[in-house]
């Protein structure tokens, strides 16, 4: 069943035509990844879905409902949660407060408590540092906090923007394990944006390749992993 569909969206930054007619569908329970180089429009796509940079043309449809011009916080309340690029954790809020902010749209106290315990259980480092300010965490810890914070929103679909950026290979592996776990155990649908195409394709069901604001390839992750042109351009040759 299609959970999220974007139909032929065009998004502008001032006069810059950042997205030139992009269509993506994400089915319930899938991991779908958007790969592509710098400036291809990956982050803009997520921000258009989240309502931060609304589409000028086209539609964003969640579960049959048009959310193209819905405001960002209302989109979150409908279960579309984004963990933004560069983590964007609140540096002057404590770890616990950051997680509380992730659950801002919720009011089920018991559920919030349970999810926070889950995040602390999953990332013991965060438990150790729960009273520290977000700004004092290391890059890896901040990424854990960013993902934990997104989980606190109890997403139906999680938009993950570059979770591996700037992290050591060991941590990248750990983060991707968590992403897979969320998908298989929590049944969270995931739309993953990554520059680390190899890693992304290894965990995704399907993938879209973006170039200069348009989609050039759309196929199963398996097929794209063996596509010559993709290997050449995004997977660093043979």
């Amino acid at each position: 069943m299609t959970l999220l569909e974007i139909r032929d969206i065009h998004t502008y930054y001032g006069k810059i035509h950042a997205l030139k007619g992009i269509s993506v569908t994400v089915d319930e329970g899938e991991i779908v990844t958007l790969i592509g180089g710098n400036g291809a429009g990956k982050t803009t796509t997520l921000n258009t879905i989240s309502g931060i940079t609304p589409a000028a043309e086209g539609q964003v449809i969640l579960n049959g409902e048009d959310i193209t011009s819905t405001r960002p916080h209302e989109i979150v309340m409908r279960g579309v949660v984004q963990s933004p690029e560069g983590r964007k954790i609140f540096t002057r809020l404590t770890v616990t407060e950051n997680l509380e902010m992730g659950a801002f749209a919720r009011s089920d106290v018991a559920g919030i408590k349970r999810d926070m315990d889950y995040v602390f259980d999953r990332f013991p480092r965060l438990l150790e540092r729960r009273t520290q300010l977000g700004g004092t965490l290391s890059g890896g810890e901040q990424q854990m906090l960013a993902i934990g914070r997104a989980l606190m929103g109890k997403p139906r679909i999680l938009l993950l923007d570059e979770p591996s950026m700037g992290l050591a290979p060991m941590l990248v592996k750990q983060i991707f394990e968590v992403v897979t776990y969320l998908n298989t155990e929590n049944h969270t649908t995931i739309l993953l944006v990554e520059q680390n195409a190899r890693m992304a394709l290894s965990i995704a069901n399907r993938a879209y390749v973006l170039q200069s604001g348009a989609i050039t390839h759309a196929d199963s992750a398996e097929a794209l992993q063996h596509d010559e042109s993709i290997i050449e351009a995004y997977l660093g040759g043979h």
Binding site: S50, G51, I52, R71, P72, H73, V76, M77, V81, Q82, P84, K88, I89, F90, T91, R92, L93, E97, E100, M101, G102, F104, A105, R149, G153
Partner: protein, 393 residues
């Protein structure tokens, strides 16, 4: 340590010598700092001479400090509004003085009506509470309209644009009140609110049909001579009431911002609006809430101010507004305890300064703004300025 002792000629990094030398160098090579330093030195010299010659006594200092405490409390209450809005929007809401004025002005209509109906005399406490609430509601309404009409449409504009708009809004509000209610000052009625007759047994006494009746301490209009440690002081309880009120509200605000869900959302929005929106926080509502909080404090302060200052005019918000802005900068704008401290500091310096320096009390504004200039020269981030420095990084 032994190493640094052996080279006592050249100061080592981190030693007291080093710090003094650097400070001296920075001061001497910067003409502004040099001028500021000389001015500061001159002021201290004049003050010390004045004290030494016996022209300025401890009694005068204590007496003026009490006045300053009340004035400072008002500045602090207004300054909190500047600091809250700056913290979240990085914008100076120059119309905040008019938000203050609106509270005092609309409060006047309430208290005036209650005086005429006799309610003020019969149920003084309740009448004051209603006046306070009317003032708060008036200020909050004006602030919400300001935010919605003047500031929200300019949210994405360069920072200078809302600043100029704020000045325009300030003038608009002054003129609006001037045209609606005329230029003549309105005068708050004198209010006697007697409290604690059991403790203050010998205050406000009168013969009532042959018997001596004492009403207790007059909290608003009272003025009492008190001898403390040989100092002859004239004390107005209302001054302490204002200071107390300011401190209580500041602490309440601090808890609100630190502990409540909305308060945490305010801090999140202050740091990153897009990230906050991605958490499901309604950024517009949080910003409006910030304006409401600042305006409520200003409205409450305005009614208190009008109760002892009595005169209200459409222009009454301008000078306190600018002073409170000075106080907010003094404490480090964007910082809640800073605004509080800056307000009290400014109030006390302003009221003790003229006599201490042996100048006319009409020059107290010069002292206030001179202080602002000195702060901007020596510590542009204010007393608690580290937050601002962090923001730049």
């Amino acid at each position: 340590m032994t190493d640094s002792q052996s080279h006592d000629a050249a100061p080592q990094p981190g030693t007291v010598d080093m710090i003094t030398t650097t400070l001296l160098k920075n001061t001497l090579y910067n003409p502004l700092r040099l001028a500021g330093g000389l001015l500061l030195f001159l002021l201290v010299y004049v003050a010390v001479t004045n004290i030494a010659s016996g022209n300025y006594t401890l009694e005068a200092f204590v007496r003026q400090s009490i006045t300053g405490l009340a004035q400072g409390g008002i500045y602090a209450l207004i300054a909190l509004g500047y600091t809250l809005v700056y913290g979240i929007l990085l914008m100076i809401n120059f119309a905040h003085g008019e938000v203050f004025m609106a509270g005092a002005y609309v409060g006047f209509f309430a208290i005036n009506a209650m005086e005429q109906s006799g309610m003020l005399a019969d149920h003084t406490f309740l009448a004051l509470l209603i006046t306070l609430m009317v003032g708060v509601v008036a200020s909050v309404t004006i602030a919400l309209l300001l935010e919605r009409i003047a500031y929200r449409p300019l949210r994405g504009a360069p920072r200078l644009v809302p600043l100029i708009t704020a000045i325009g809004a300030s003038i608009t509000l002054q003129q609006l009140f001037l045209r609606l209610f005329g230029p003549d000052p309105r005068v708050y009625p004198r209010v006697n609110l007697y409290i604690l007759p059991g403790i203050f047994r010998d205050l406000e006494c009168a013969e009532v049909s042959g018997a001596q009746v004492c009403k207790g301490l007059d909290l608003i209009d009272g003025l009492y001579r008190v001898d403390v440690l040989g100092m002859n002081l004239r004390i107005r309880p209302v001054f302490f009431l204002v200071a107390f009120f300011a401190i209580v509200l500041m602490i309440a605000l601090w808890f609100f911002v630190q502990r409540t869900k909305t308060g945490k959302a305010m801090r999140a929005v202050a740091e990153d609006k897009n990230a906050a929106a991605l958490m499901g926080i309604n950024v517009d509502r949080v910003i409006a809430t910030t304006f409401v909080l600042g305006a409520a404090l200003a409205g409450a302060g305005a009614v208190l101010f009008a109760l002892y200052n009595q005169q209200v005019t459409p222009f009454m918000g301008f000078v306190p507004g600018i002073k409170a802005f000075t106080a907010a900068v003094l404490g480090g704008i964007g910082n809640i305890p800073g605004a509080m401290l800056g307000g009290f500091f400014l109030g006390i310096v302003e009221s003790t300064g003229p006599a201490l320096l042996g100048i006319s009390s009409q020059l107290k504004d010069v002292i206030a703004f001179g202080l602002l200039v000195l702060i901007l020269i020596f510590r542009p981030t204010g007393i608690f300025g580290e937050v601002l420095a962090e923001k730049k990084a």
